[in-house]
């Protein structure tokens, strides 16, 4: 799987879905019936933290020493490094070197990671990015389980993207940070706090939760952190407070848990009109591509515009009927037998004759212009040998490597859809139970003329055909991409074995 190839992940999940057995009339009947159960309030909970702004009298209280201990990026596990560097990177580039696997680089620069607190149970890392964004990452000191490349530590990460003045660490004005955990009680529908934790500034020795009737549950600060632990008593907590070493309350934030108020009668409201198309950026597009039914223009700012020449084409109707599409673009690189893909996209529901989106994001992680390809990813079901084929219905390569990627991906998808057909799944389950797979000739016979038997495990089928080899336990399906590269998938029962399609398609 390639980073950013969300489409493939979505495909894989979609493959687990069953048939549509919905019944709208049943919904209407239920809506008319009065429930015999105690009504459960599920109104949206709005949680507001309102600092009351206790004066701190000019004391140095609440200052947070975030110098901490530098954490070299190379000391992070690969997964944590990926999260720290690329999830907020606005300008990712792929670097190809002859004979080497391609690698990602973030042109924005890398963050400085500093461990600013660690109470032995939870660590807090401050990540400072060259563009001024600051993130606070936290997680268990012992890390998460990672069977391959060491522990992963980052559990949650919050950033001040879009709010540069927001501090992610305590300040004299707000000497604690607050991470509240809630549960929704199904009995009365009220939200209840199950835990509170966070960082504290200098001089804060205790943090308290104040109940509606005034009682206070306190916890002692350890290092620069506090954590009430679980479970805390079930009460109507209304505020969180901070105390200095004399026991004086120096800060209070109201915790407001409220139901969303009812709005005006909706019968009086008009159906909201579809949002207007965003204007095209000034200047000319830097990339332009055409298909028989649509054109795609890419602007330097990462704005992408699609125009369908007709809303009556089969392709347009297919996309419209099946719930719209996702407009996605990507950058790709190939080397040493591996593809590297950075792609991203936005939903275009509902589909319109003109589709425009801005693929730049506040939080990064998406490719930046110019792109190697753009496409409209349909949401129709995908089956082996179906009429939609294995290319997207609207797909434009802008570069030679983009063309090669789309071609190889189509071939890889063909193999992927093939090995997950119902017929192949029956064979795979039989092998999983210990039975022998049918001969390659028999498998080919069951699938018809697009599948041919191979006498050699590494054999090649004619172009556009899928070749199948088996020894009774293992099945190898292979196909030549348009550029002649042989793609293959090894199937051992229900598991997928060796394959060179992993970065191109989800094969399962």
């Amino acid at each position: 799987m390639a980073i950013g190839e969300e489409r493939e992940l979505r495909d894989r999940f979609a493959g687990l879905g069953g048939r549509d057995d919905g019944d709208w009339n049943d919904v209407r009947r239920r809506a008319r019936q009065r429930s015999r159960r105690v009504a459960v309030l599920v109104a949206t909970v709005a949680v507001a933290l309102v600092a009351t702004g206790f004066g701190l009298g000019g004391q140095a209280l609440g200052l947070f020493d975030n110098s901490g201990t530098p954490v070299p990026l190379e000391k992070l596990s690969e997964r944590d490094r990926q999260t720290a560097v690329f999830s907020l990177c606005q300008h990712i580039t792929l670097v190809s070197r002859p004979g080497r696997e391609p690698v990602e680089r973030c042109l924005d620069g890398e963050p400085k990671v500093t461990e600013i607190a660690n109470d032995g149970k939870t660590f807090y890392w401050k990540l400072s990015y060259p563009n001024g964004v600051t993130c606070l990452a936290s997680g268990p000191v012992e890390g998460f389980r990672d069977p391959n490349r060491g522990p992963t530590h980052i559990g949650m990460m919050g950033c001040n993207v879009g709010a540069p003045t927001e501090r992610v660490v305590p300040t004299p004005k707000r000497p604690i940070t607050t991470n509240l955990a809630f549960t929704m009680d199904p009995g009365d529908g009220l939200a209840r706090i199950t835990n509170a934790s966070g960082l504290v500034g200098s001089g804060i020795t205790n943090v308290g939760l104040v109940a509606l009737h005034g009682s206070v549950l306190k916890t002692t600060v350890k290092g620069k952190t506090y954590d009430f632990g679980r479970p805390i008593p079930t009460r109507d907590w209304v505020a969180i407070t901070a105390y200095d070493e004399s026991g004086k309350e120096v800060h209070r934030e109201r915790i407001s848990v409220a139901h969303r108020p009812s709005g005006p009668p909706l019968e009086n409201l008009k159906q909201p009109a579809p949002s207007p198309l965003p204007p095209l950026p000034a200047g000319r597009p830097i990339q332009h591509g055409e298909t028989p039914v649509a054109t795609i223009d890419v602007y330097r700012s990462s704005s992408v515009a699609v125009h369908f020449s007709s809303m009556k084409s089969d392709i347009y109707r297919t996309l419209e009927r099946t719930g719209g599409a996702t407009l996605a673009c990507g950058d790709v690189a190939f080397g040493a037998g591996r593809w590297l893909v950075v792609a991203g996209g936005n939903s275009t529901q509902p589909l319109r004759q003109d589709v425009r989106t801005d693929l730049s994001t506040r939080y990064g992680g998406f490719p930046s212009t110019p792109y190697d390809y753009c496409e409209l990813q349909g949401r129709y079901g995908r089956y082996w040998n179906d009429e939609e084929g294995t290319h997207e219905l609207v797909e434009v390569p802008f570069t030679a490597v983009g063309r090669r990627f789309l071609d190889e991906r189509a071939t890889a998808r063909d193999l992927g859809y093939f090995v997950r057909t119902r017929k192949m799944w029956q064979i795979r389950k039989a092998v999983h139970r210990g039975e022998n797979a049918p001969s390659a000739a028999e498998i080919a016979r069951r699938f018809g003329p697009r599948v041919v038997p191979l006498a050699d495990r590494a054999g090649e089928a004619p172009t556009t055909k899928i070749g199948v080899w088996t020894d009774g336990k293992v099945i190898v399906a292979s196909e030549l991409a348009p550029n002649g590269r042989r793609l293959f998938v090894t199937v051992g029962g229900v598991r997928i074995g060796a394959t060179n399609t992993r970065q191109l398609a989800f094969v399962f």
């Binding site: 999940f13 687990l16 879905g17 549509d20 919905g22 049943d26 990672d146 980052i154 009668p265 997928i496």
Partner: protein, 161 residues
């Protein structure tokens, strides 16, 4: 029929399967998930006047669906995603590799992955449902994708042996 009812019906007809499959990861069975989704949309109809259009209708209905699913399990959900949400594939044998990979994800990441890939929700909608920032959703998905990639590569290695 008022316009909001029409919008909810349209949502149901277009997205029923995604709701059912997504909810099934919480309830543990398709039958229960189907019932939860039916009840969810019935609640949505009854409470449509409380939807103020501040976010997407789908995200609003998803919140109801998730809470209804949790009610059905008689478990207390952790809306801030700091608790344990035991969501998993309802039929792991249909994709044992993916099931195994998902099982190793921390619960909070797993739920966001389900909302993204089963429910096909946008970052903003997931952020609204889970009451976290979009950046957190992005970072979480990035971590989850990387984790799945590693586990699937491990499967590759097994296949070579």
């Amino acid at each position: 029929m008022d316009e909001r009812t029409q919008a909810i019906e349209l949502l149901y007809r277009q997205r029923y399967v995604r709701f059912r499959d997504g909810v099934a990861t919480i309830t543990g069975s398709y039958d229960t998930a189907r019932d939860v989704v039916q009840e969810t949309f019935a609640k949505a109809l009854r409470r449509r006047l409380t939807f103020r259009g501040e976010g997407s209708l789908e995200a609003w209905v998803w919140k109801i669906a998730i809470r209804t699913a949790w009610e059905r399990r008689r478990e207390l959900p952790d809306l801030s995603l700091n608790g344990t949400i035991e969501a998993a594939l309802v039929e792991p044998e249909r994709d044992p590799v993916l099931a195994e990979a998902l099982r190793t994800l921390p619960a909070k990441r797993r739920l966001i992955v389900f909302l993204r890939y089963f429910a096909d929700l946008s970052y903003g909608e997931i952020a609204s449902i889970c009451e976290v920032s979009e950046g957190t959703v992005g970072a979480t998905l990035s971590q989850a994708r990387a984790a799945l990639e590693e586990l699937l590569q491990k499967e590759d290695a097994r296949g070579h042996r």
